[in-house]
Symmetry: C2
Subunit: 123 residues, 2 copies
DNA sequence: CAGCATCCGAAGGGATACTG
DNA sequence: CAGTATCCCTTCGGATGCTG
């Protein structure tokens, strides 16, 4: 029955905007999409799956996702070290919206490319 | 019947990634969310609705969206000038996924804030 | 292997002033 | 009003080298 206080991402000072800034991000989207596929993934596997991401950026993205409670980190005290990542329950609620974005990009890229060509041709 | 060639946002060189980079972006999300609400919107109304956005960033975001065929621009040769923006048919297919992201941020911000507090407390 | 530290160039983004 | 142009600071992000 009780409703949340009015959170609104369009309001500059609303805390929800900090969350939007994190999830509405290409690296975040790709990492979550990668983690959606299977189970836990090792750091190195993620680095391979999210093609082109640098180690630094992957580390930072994972840290931020962990901080926001979207990703869980499992480190094993082995040599060489092994670290696995997986979506938390909260993170799994992001699978659908972020996969939707990824699919949109793949499904409509032809139209987008055509629009770009037309736009650029006009100038 | 015919299927698209394999577009995959996780592949570094896939053109669909350029599209993902554009739509998985906080300003893009907020502008599309703002345009989803009503009909056409004037530049100034958008600037007010997307609270905190600077004129420069709003201009750039709208140009990029126009170039990708997601937003249509209607300029009227009046004094003072009036320019209206609206989502194209293609842009409207983005309403649902991007609104979903906005809603996610608003609905889960409490959990996210709690996770951040816990994470920060541990260090 | 996973990561941190460092360096550095590129891109993002705000403020201000100006114009049709 | 809706831009454009400029300036400048901040953040992003790649490359390299080092460590447990």
């Amino acid at each position: 029955m009780s409703r949340q206080p009015d959170f609104n991402v369009l309001t500059a000072t609303c805390p929800s905007r900090t969350s939007l800034a994190r999830i509405a991000n290409k690296w975040t989207a790709m990492v979550v999409i990668a983690l959606s596929a299977g189970d836990r993934m090792r750091f190195g596997d993620l680095r391979t799956t999210v093609d082109g991401i640098s180690g630094k950026v992957l580390t930072e993205t994972l840290r931020d996702l962990e901080r926001d409670g979207l990703v869980a980190r499992h480190a094993y005290a082995e040599i060489p070290p092994r670290v696995e990542y997986e979506l938390t329950a909260l993170g799994r609620t992001l699978e659908t919206p972020l996969q939707a974005l990824g699919h949109w990009a793949e499904e409509h890229i032809t139209e987008v490319l055509a629009a770009r060509e037309e736009y650029d041709a006009r100038r």
